[in-house]
Point group: C2
Amino acid sequence: MTVKNELFLGDSKKELEKLPDNSIDLIFTSPPYADQRKNTYGGIHPDKYVEWFLPVSEQLLRVLKPTGTFVLNIKERVVKGERSTYVMELILEMKKQGWLWTEEYIWHKKNSYPGKWPNRFRDAWERLLQFNKEKKFNMYQEEVMVPMGDWAKTRLRKLSDTDKTRDESKVGSGFGKNISNWVGRDKAYPTNVLHLATECSNKKHSAAFPEGLPEWFIKLFTKEGDTVLDPFMGSGTTNIVASQMKRNTIGIEIVPEYYEMVKDQLQPEELYLLEPKPSYESDQPRRRISIR
Amino acid sequence: MTVKNELFLGDSKKELEKLPDNSIDLIFTSPPYADQRKNTYGGIHPDKYVEWFLPVSEQLLRVLKPTGTFVLNIKERVVKGERSTYVMELILEMKKQGWLWTEEYIWHKKNSYPGKWPNRFRDAWERLLQFNKEKKFNMYQEEVMVPMGDWAKTRLRKLSDTDKTRDESKVGSGFGKNISNWVGRDKAYPTNVLHLATECSNKKHSAAFPEGLPEWFIKLFTKEGDTVLDPFMGSGTTNIVASQMKRNTIGIEIVPEYYEMVKDQLQPEELYLLEPKPSYESDQPRRRISIR
DNA sequence: GTTCCGCATGAATCGATAG
DNA sequence: ACTATCGATTCATGCGGAA
């Protein structure tokens, strides 16, 4: 089978106008976070953030299918000792646009940035806000349950201490519990708390999230042949993962350098001859994405 | 030494008026959650929640010391397939009252109640909102340090002499590891994600939280002899734990049954004859705190 | 082929210093 | 005075070279 990859260079709000109504199954994105500094990539001042984002979310509401889902990865900054409130204000405003705020998942970043300050500890979590157009939407819960295949059985037999305590991320997509909890069970349902380490690979984009994050939501909210959109593509993690999972993808990026970088890795049409096993069933390390 | 336990039966807003200004070091509470059903304990309709809570938080702002902290354990309900927004509205309104929203901790409920719905998974986390009166407040970070990961322990044990000297000579090399700094340290600072199992003890109160939760914040924000307030006492977990930790406590409860229950367990004056380790440092399994 | 170990670095924050 | 930039702080993780 083949999947299509459409990439747009330009401002999200403008480029989104080119997409037809009700055509997207899943929007997964991590927009530029608010930033006081002006010269950072995409830095938007916290006070202007909601105003900046709302025209985009209005377009997203238009292009999303009624059965589709919008997952927004975001976290508010600390400004002068206080958490900013722009994320909360954004949720309230998006509801006025017609979005349903269905759920808030927590991404627990197991290896967060070091640091200790007089008034706070390390920030080790981010929000994954789920929005929908309708109360009824597509959700394939079975897909994110991790089956007890031969791999898991073998793995459990030689379960090491490190597996038990330290490395939860080797289990499935990295979400969920201790491997040892699964002994005797066929399947495990996840919760709305996702445990995943931030990646320390050679990505040149500062806002990269681990591949497991979009992978999990793509599995949960789409099936093969569906269409996944990332309006703030960045290094293209969402699109590359989605394409590997045989979903059609659309990506928009305003910085030419990142746009070109992703373009080198994603063909307009990707042909999948083989039926690769899902990565969580594979014995091999997950395929690394190299930047050429 | 002795600690005092003051218990009030009545409505929080009214009873709080009896307390003097700037007299409390820590407020830790889990108020009745919003609920559409009227017959639940303290059930308040989501639409009325903010309006109901604000007079209480206004009193809390008055009684809290300038160096004190208010920790609010809360989570929004799902109403008609959507998360309610009263928590966000509450934060925004409390900021207008003069509160600083310093931080949001996540309580990850490791063993949350099993369950699955067509549109969502198990809810396995709650918010712990930290509010302050001033930017400078008391925080005893060393008190909640946690054992270091296995990796560091292994590394330190095997640290060779050359490693020590070589690393010391590299002081000033900027960002990077200086392992020798860690010698003698077996603890690390925690993050803003707390991993605790929910407790299934014999509590008759529906809003009971595990003892480890107030215990952690009491350690972090107070010292012995300080005063801890819970304006929605319930089964009295906060007060009982605080009293055991040699903090003076004040509790307010509107339901006579709960009020009497706590009164039976807490004397107006508790005498602590022994000065040794506080209970939370003992080896007794019941009082083990398990924050990773 | 394992296992071990050194090292880089990740959506960070504060406070001091420079413009 | 006010803003922008910079240095110090510090832990989990995976990778790659060494044993």
